[in-house]
Homo-oligomer: 139 residues x 2
Amino acid sequence: MTIEMKPIGVVAEVTEPPQEGQSFMTRQDQREKLLIYPEHREGLTGLEPGQTLQIIFYFHLSDSFDYITFSHGQQKVTGVFNCRSPRRPNGIGIDTVKLLAIEDGVLTVDGADMLPDTPILDIKPAPRHHRRPPEGESK
Amino acid sequence: MTIEMKPIGVVAEVTEPPQEGQSFMTRQDQREKLLIYPEHREGLTGLEPGQTLQIIFYFHLSDSFDYITFSHGQQKVTGVFNCRSPRRPNGIGIDTVKLLAIEDGVLTVDGADMLPDTPILDIKPAPRHHRRPPEGESK
């Protein structure tokens, strides 16, 4: 069974691009602009700044993977399904971001770590329990 | 650009299957068994019961979509990227679940809402801020 997908958009701008020698896994969260292709823009209806979104994307620069890999987050060797490495059997990535602005099919988001030119596959509102409370709120 | 993916496993058992007339969107979270195919099982190394995981799957029964759709969760008409409907341009679903057991390539998880026979595309540990605190804990 082979499943085919086509990008709905692309990462058009990254405010702080990765520096030389700085790996994907160790970069800080950054502000990014996601360009949604014109034919898909009607699907953005209802999105509003302030929402927490899941951005589903494709690790377009990863062309292979290992089942056992080094997890930068956990600083140990472990299974590929026990880490969020970009090198995986199906190269799907998920960033949970805050939507800062939306205009003319371009979403400005905070908290992403996608590389420039990353293909976007899907956008969903985050489940309710994923939404971090604002600072100072007790719940 | 077309991206090809192949399932790493399948939803093998759903403890409380959906009842007649009960839609995918209105079902309660349930306990499920995910069978990971033998060739991918090495990638499960390090996973342990108690972890919160993101299960990425394919909405295999959805063969079309609309850009404007009815959101059951929000009880209103809105854009497909502003809801978690299974009918979407790329049929990717994400469930955040608790891993209850793992044995012989079968993961028993709690909190999923996948249908039986759903193809599994990927498994990742949930980001730290997605992990719900145990009952009674203040953070």
